[in-house]
Symmetry: C2
Subunit: 439 residues, 2 copies
């Protein structure tokens, strides 16, 4: 899926590579700034980052797709209205509080938009709001509005990196990917670390381009691209209430061929997808499942998701334990729960390229077990270190050391349906991150 | 769901209560014995327990339900044939190796049955085999056959406890429940700790009764009871390849009323269900979700399962963190993925009996947050202790200190569908147990 096979030996090496990816296309300015406030729901102070993506002039050529969660956040409700507006002028993003199911959430979101619009000489309807963070809490609108001028003062047109960093929450590192074509570029940034599943889980993605792609071409294209990339990953099967993927064009560079643009956009999104999984909360291993021979694409996706979402398989991978029985269990669980008829004598499974199941039985021996363990170890991003307080595990790296995956192959030999699904293992760091996230 | 509200202050207190529950109904003998062997797949030695449940005379009155996983173990394939036999004489159960998808698994299982039949003066078709443990490994048939006489020598008719202990794998404590009626009894034992979801995950349950219930009445009744109890729990959403629930009657005591028997059987199964969840791998909290007002029972079950299977909600509960946003996320994820239309202004959610969501928004304040934390703390079974090696967590108790649950209420106000689903939180102990289980 990835266009590159990158290795990084240090945080600094990774950050300088990010900086090289981050040059903004023409027509955009971005900025980000942090401020302190006291949430209505807590006694102790907290910090929030306000990030702005501003178009030099409002553009009609923008598109967005949103979470399918039945309880979308207020910014998603507002965003769905913005899609109908003739032009977009800026995106205002906050972290810390997601403004989901909070009292008067839509009004709060609109108040932030109105204040930003006033400062940017825009109409409130030209501002797309996005929020991520704790569900249920109220947005600190007054504090946000008071801080907006400071955030706007950071706007610059050189690099998207401040925005890539500004939208992060528990992300270990910012995520930036780019493609260049026809003298223009597409630059994408993403935030997303947990609550990641099918339908654009807690994931914010902003794709900026100077290539001129008209709104009516851009919109179906973004939906297809999201289905082929972001909707094929799962870290914890949980679907966030805030997910948003937005694509904005400044239209400064002619785009002679829409298919080439689609391919480049898909590559940027595929790379960001892999970045998001690799930076998933507590991820020690990225798992890539290639399902072939399914009756259709939908069943192929479901089987791939069943594997990457199986807690027992996730734990086995975390421990570098090639417990392939759990792989068969996960496939059998999904098939047994559905209506697909399986001929297990035609099923073939592989791990790390080695055949482990065929003809209705496992094909294992001690040499193969040794090779499977080696494959898992090679794909490991880091090992847990003994925590300082004895119970709270923290990842010992804040950059991705490599782009290798645990490679799982499933061939049902029943049809032409196929899918590639990305997921991750389950570790002590995930538990530590999520068992005590708010307090 | 539980018939009792038990508290135990120590392992000894719990064990003596179990002994009081364990008196065998007339017509059965049980025994269990352990032996050492070297698996084909490993260099180091391992231990296996062989457990026997024998009928004094073969009975036509037996029933069983099996896993719906599409890759059932060889014993399940054999068991499905046994169901068609005129009578059952004994059940032979081993732990350590599940005999799933291993080469020649059915033949291996049949060889164990034939050997047991020879020693018990039965026909091989009168033996129900059950296996639980590692998937993919081969059953050590020769070693098992050699040890069968020793296992049979332990048969006795006083207590089911040796069998309840013999079938355990990673279970922290044996599980025994009983009901008495019409001068007879139903005694149930269960094994099951991980890989527990809808369709009878790694769960073995044996229900023995001296009450005379004919085979043709017993079979639909067991299926209904399993759907109402065992199929409404989920620890990790994973469906095992070996699950079996068997009900056997010795027919020594007349049963004048089948409905009373059904009610008693349901109570025994409901109690065992709760025991299984409470003893789930790494469980700190049992979560009970009551869903009401769903369009139908099926949707109610799916919403309940979505909540107890949400990794983020599970982690929040583990940390005694009333992160109710994740509860709303899980409900919204399930509804958003399906076709149910939700009016979020009619949805009501409660935690620990306190209303947390109504009229489309959260109903929270600091006092309520404090009360929610207290509810979670009260339902906690134990806290993690700093592990000796720094990374491998082990539960500090091997008995259930109490039977309290984290109580979640969901009312969709859309119809009459309802369901009660049992699940559990997600902890470091689960990761430790499953990331390094085989090696």
């Amino acid at each position: 899926m990835s266009s590159t096979d990158l290795r990084f030996a240090s945080r600094d090496q990774h950050r300088s590579w990010l900086a090289s990816q981050a040059r903004l296309p023409g027509g955009f300015r971005v900025g980000s700034s942090v401020f302190g406030f006291t949430p209505f729901e807590l006694d102790k102070p907290a910090k929030m980052k306000l990030t702005i993506i501003a178009c030099d002039r409002p553009t009609a050529d923008f598109a967005a797709v949103f979470t399918r969660n039945a309880f979308p956040g207020a910014p998603v409700l507002v965003g769905k209205r913005r899609i109908e507006e003739p032009t977009l002028g800026a995106i205002v993003i906050n972290n810390k509080i997601s403004n989901v199911c909070a009292p008067d959430g839509v009004q709060a979101s609109e108040r932030v938009c109105a204040a930003a619009a006033g400062l940017l000489n825009l109409d409130p309807g030209q501002i797309l709001p996005c929020s991520t963070g704790v569900i249920g809490w109220r947005l600190p609108v007054d504090a946000m509005v008071a801080h907006l001028p400071a955030a706007l003062a950071t706007l610059q047109s050189a690099s998207v990196l401040p925005a890539a960093e500004g939208i992060c929450t528990t992300d270990l590192f910012p995520k930036v990917r780019r493609a260049e074509l026809f003298g223009g570029s597409i630059v994408g940034i993403a935030k997303g670390a947990g609550m990641i599943e099918p339908n654009l889980a807690t994931m914010l993605v902003y794709l900026l381009t100077d290539l001129q792609v008209p709104r009516n071409r851009m919109r179906p294209l973004l939906r297809t691209t999201a289905d082929d990339t972001f909707n094929r990953m799962s870290i914890d099967s949980d679907t966030s209430t805030s997910d948003t993927v937005a694509l904005v064009s400044s239209g400064q560079v002619p785009c002679p061929e829409i298919n080439a643009f689609h391919a480049a956009l898909t590559q940027v999104c595929a790379d960001l997808t892999e970045d998001i999984v690799r930076n998933g909360e507590g991820v020690h291993h990225v798992i890539r499942v290639k399902v072939n021979g399914a009756p259709n694409r939908h069943i192929a996706e479901r089987i791939g998701k069943a594997i990457v979402n199986s807690p027992l398989f996730q734990c086995a991978v975390c421990g570098n334990d090639p417990n392939v029985g759990r792989l068969v269990m996960a496939v059998g669980k999904e098939i047994g729960a559905g209506s697909t008829k399986l001929d297990s004598s035609r099923l073939r499974l592989s791990l790390g390229g080695l055949e482990i199941f065929s003809g209705g039985a496992f094909r294992l021996d001690r040499d193969k077990e040794t090779a499977l363990v080696r494959h898992l170890r090679d794909a490991e991003l880091y090992q847990s270190v003994v925590p300082a307080d004895g119970v709270t595990f923290k990842p010992p790296v804040d950059y991705p050391p490599h782009e290798r995956c645990v490679e799982v192959g499933v061939d049902l030999d029943l049809g032409n349906g196929q899918a590639v699904i990305l997921g991750a293992d389950r570790s002590h760091e995930y538990i530590s991150e999520n068992a005590d996230y708010r307090s």
